[in-house]
């Protein structure tokens, strides 16, 4: 009986420690403010081909990882717990991304993307119709119960980016990873700051890898998440023990 008890304790310890040690199933205490950064694409999925300052194309997967790492540093410096879906160029499917985000019980989830079409930063929410949170929710439509919170998060991000002088558009899209996330989730697509001229359509400098621009975007996102944390009383108060509520 004593050995069984010891095994039980070991199993409990393993259950707590192993996921953190391997970085695959990170979970944060409910009282901590946690942000999930999901760098889009990775591995065989290179994403869009971006035009860089040097003229050579760069895969979107590298840009998103770079921005994720930069943003993670900025957030950690502000005392925010950050969980990233990937730290290297590894393949990750949409379900795994959502799984990591849902296990983290985060207060904000950002899916990071980049493209050369358009201007500034595009914020996208899930296009799922808002729904009441139930005891169980479908994996494919888990985000439906969080759409109002995601909309509020997008509003905070929008304000911070505009305050930094970055053009922003807000839309809704069907992105599988976001649709399965049970947290306030927004897809952030970074595009060149100096976008096409509204009259001529010409794009004088369609690059997103300008370090100063990338830092400006990362700073604005970090500032928005800090503000989101400070506005988070409503979120914390609505949480019920044992089950997360949007």
């Amino acid at each position: 009986m004593a050995s069984l008890g010891r095994l039980g304790i070991l199993a409990a310890l393993a259950g707590t420690i192993l996921p953190c040690a391997f970085g695959q199933s990170p979970s944060a205490p409910a009282s901590r403010f946690t942000v999930v950064l999901d760098a889009g694409h990775g591995g065989d999925d290179a994403g869009a081909s971006l035009t860089t300052q040097t003229g050579s194309p760069e895969a979107e997967k590298y840009y998103t990882l770079e921005l994720s790492v930069r943003l993670r540093s900025l957030l950690r410096a502000r005392g925010i717990t950050v969980v990233t879906t990937r730290e290297s160029d590894g393949a990750l499917d949409a379900d795994r991304r959502a799984e990591i985000a849902n296990q983290a019980e985060a207060q904000a989830c950002l899916s990071i993307h980049a493209a050369t079409t358009g201007t500034g930063v595009h914020l996208f929410l899930s296009s799922l119709a808002p729904a009441q949170a139930g005891k169980f929710s479908s994996w494919r439509t888990a985000q439906a119960a969080w759409v109002p919170k995601s909309l509020a998060l997008a509003g905070v991000l929008n304000s911070a980016l505009k305050h930094a002088g970055i053009p922003v558009t807000v839309g809704r899209t069907a992105l599988t990873a976001i649709d399965s996330m049970a947290c306030p989730a927004v897809a952030v697509e970074v595009t060149p700051e100096a976008g096409p001229d509204r009259n001529t359509g010409n794009n004088p400098s369609p690059v997103v890898d300008d370090p100063a621009y990338q830092l400006k975007v990362a700073d604005a996102l970090a500032a928005a998440l800090v503000e989101w944390r400070s506005d988070g009383a409503e979120f914390k108060n609505s949480a019920q023990p044992g089950r997360r509520q949007p």
Partner: protein, 222 residues
Amino acid sequence: MNSDSLIPRYQLVLFLILLLLSAGLGGLLWHLRERAHERMLVGKTSTPTTAPQVAPLEQATLMVARDVDDTIGARALSLPLPHEPSARARALLGELLDLYAEPDSTHPVPGGAASIAQVFLLPVGGSANLESKAGGGFGTAAGADTGPELAVVNLTGTFAVGHPSGLETETLTVLSMCATLHANLPRITEVRFLVNGEPRATLAGHADLTRTYLTGDTVLQQ
């Protein structure tokens, strides 16, 4: 021997007659040519010189995407549209993609009309009657079934491969296609996409193509 004896008189007369006939025919030919030329100039030619219209011109509304400000706007055009609903839907989407394939497009996407392999229309939830659809066009056949319909748009693999990758650009393509269908064929309330007849996870790495799009949701942006 004099010169009169070398050419008999009857031959001389015959030669003169033939010469007059040749001159007369030449004059007639010239006259007919002039008349034909005049008829051509005034457009009175009876020869069909223009290809017959496949279908009469109709007013159609294309919901055209703009990458610059991330919006979808209506553009009214007169197009020859077939009467049969699925062919009509295909023609509308073809026109939209032709606009996107133009060099000065506001939403550059290569491929054009050839990117739409087929469009199938099905009753939503099996509530409608397929037989009643076969004969009736949208809003034209009195008494035709007016139930909501699902449009299944089969895209070519070349289109998906050549489509620019990005959240905004893919979303705009998908939503503008849904909005164009709904603007012209209001009975289409749902749209699904296939690529080469098969379900595909995303259009070009971002926009989910496995879901059913509701055409009433194609409202965009601020």
